[in-house]
């Protein structure tokens, strides 16, 4: 959403709109008080509707700088409930075979909204840690050396945090299939793609062992 006071031109335009709207309200109220009130309600609702509908141009994707050796490739894997999924394991294995690759697996500590507001996040972190430990052990058993960390409950913030410290060359996001995935519903993959200038891959995990 864009602020009507984001620039002088926008503020001037907003002033003219306000002038017109209130002229209409006063004129309607002059005819009848009830009509003035209705006009005010309708114009207010229209203003809120128009404000919520508009889309501000998004910022440019942030540049993620390559760090480490020239031939080293860094892959950030973001998953929680699907972190043990075969499809994700397969995607990681494929990348591990092809190049000298470092992995960072991030498990966002998913939590309910109420628990987030009340800072009751220990159980969520414990569950995420359990999944992460199991996944890292499984990757290590097939010779893949991966690091892991628990991320923020908001997957985008977790990705943002990891990007700033890990500097990935690729981001892999694992989700449930469409229709069952809350992350897909929230457009996490699209948001991450728009936010960073590195490739973002989406892995759909149908089932887990």
């Amino acid at each position: 959403m864009e602020s009507p006071f984001r620039s002088e031109e926008a503020a001037f335009k907003f002033l003219l709109i306000t002038l017109g709207a209130f002229a209409l309200i006063v004129f309607a109220a002059w005819i009848s008080t009830a009509l003035g009130f209705v006009t005010w309600i309708v114009l207010s609702a229209a203003a809120v509707w128009a404000y919520l509908r508009q889309r501000a141009p998004g910022p440019e994707p942030a540049h993620v700088e390559h760090v480490g050796a020239e031939d080293e490739r860094r892959v950030l894997v973001v998953a929680n409930e699907t972190v043990r999924g075969e499809e994700l394991m397969s995607a990681i294995s494929t990348r591990a075979l092809s190049e000298k690759t470092r992995f960072l697996v991030v498990c966002p500590a998913l939590n309910t909204r109420v628990k987030t507001w009340t800072s009751d996040e220990d159980p969520a972190r414990a569950v995420a840690q359990e999944r992460l430990d199991e996944t890292l052990a499984r990757l290590a058993s097939v010779g893949i050396d991966a690091a892991g960390q628990i991320g923020d409950g908001d997957p985008l913030v977790a990705i943002d945090d990891a990007v700033r410290t890990f500097h990935p060359d690729e981001i892999v996001i694992s989700t449930h299939p469409p229709g069952r995935s809350n992350w897909l519903e929230r457009g996490i993959v699209e948001s991450a793609t728009a936010r960073f200038d590195v490739p973002v891959s989406h892995v759909v995990v149908e089932s887990q062992d």
């Binding site: 602020s3 001037f12 002038l19 006063v26 480490g68």
Partner: protein
């Protein structure tokens, strides 16, 4: 960050702040400012509507007079406002409104002029805006002196002076900002490339005008 990455940088000092909110700091600041202003004016409007609509008998001087808006100068007799009602100077305030709205056009003209590098037009626009803002404030002071009631006339007078006075204070702040722009303008500051110092007072001035349109329509006309 690895040594390799550090070697590739010539940067000194602290790293750039992480803006995880993805909202530009200046836009965020303006949004917070507008939010606080809406709450401030909103509290005054709440008091105004409470007195006018929800609690019209709140006057300690002439309780029955509140059947009318603006209230009667004395208790009504037989449902009639025999002593007459208090009057808001609608027409003077209307002219004042026209002056203030016109000043928004001149500040817009001034900014457009400096964006095109036309310094004389920019300065003329700013001076005109300042003069009109000053005229508005002066007229409001004269209006206060001749309005025929003061803050002791009841709650309606308190909210009237409160709302219009709050707006007047904003005009005074706006005039201070405009004066600074004018002084800097005459000293050769600002150019087609650098005019951020004109843009921000311009936004503030438009905001003050928007609030006045709301105040004038609500208090004087409706």
């Amino acid at each position: 960050m690895s040594a390799h990455a550090e070697a590739g940088h010539e940067h000194h000092g602290p790293p750039a702040a992480n803006q995880s909110s993805r909202v530009d700091a200046r836009v965020l600041g303006m949004l917070l400012f507008i939010g606080s202003e809406i709450m401030l004016f909103g509290s005054f409007f709440t008091a105004y509507f409470f007195i006018r609509v929800a609690n019209p008998h709140s006057s300690t001087i002439t309780p029955d007079a509140w059947q009318f808006w603006p209230p009667c100068k004395a208790p009504p007799v037989g449902g009639e406002c025999t002593a007459g009602q208090y009057e808001f100077p609608v027409y003077v305030a209307g002219i004042n409104t026209a002056i203030l709205v016109t000043s928004s056009f001149t500040v817009h003209w001034a900014l457009q002029s400096i964006k095109r590098g036309q310094r004389k037009a920019f300065l003329a626009g700013m001076v005109l805006t300042f003069v009109m803002g000053l005229a508005f404030l002066t007229t409001q002071v004269i209006e206060y002196l001749n309005v025929g009631f003061n803050t002791g006339a009841g709650a309606f007078a308190s909210v009237f002076f409160g709302l219009t006075g709050l707006h007047g204070a904003h005009v005074a702040v706006g005039l201070s900002l405009l004066l600074m722009v004018i002084i800097r303008g005459f000293r050769g500051h600002y150019s087609a490339e650098h005019h951020h110092g004109v843009e921000l007072p311009g936004i503030y001035w438009h905001f003050v005008d928007v609030m006045w349109i709301v105040v004038y329509s609500t208090v004087y006309l409706l």
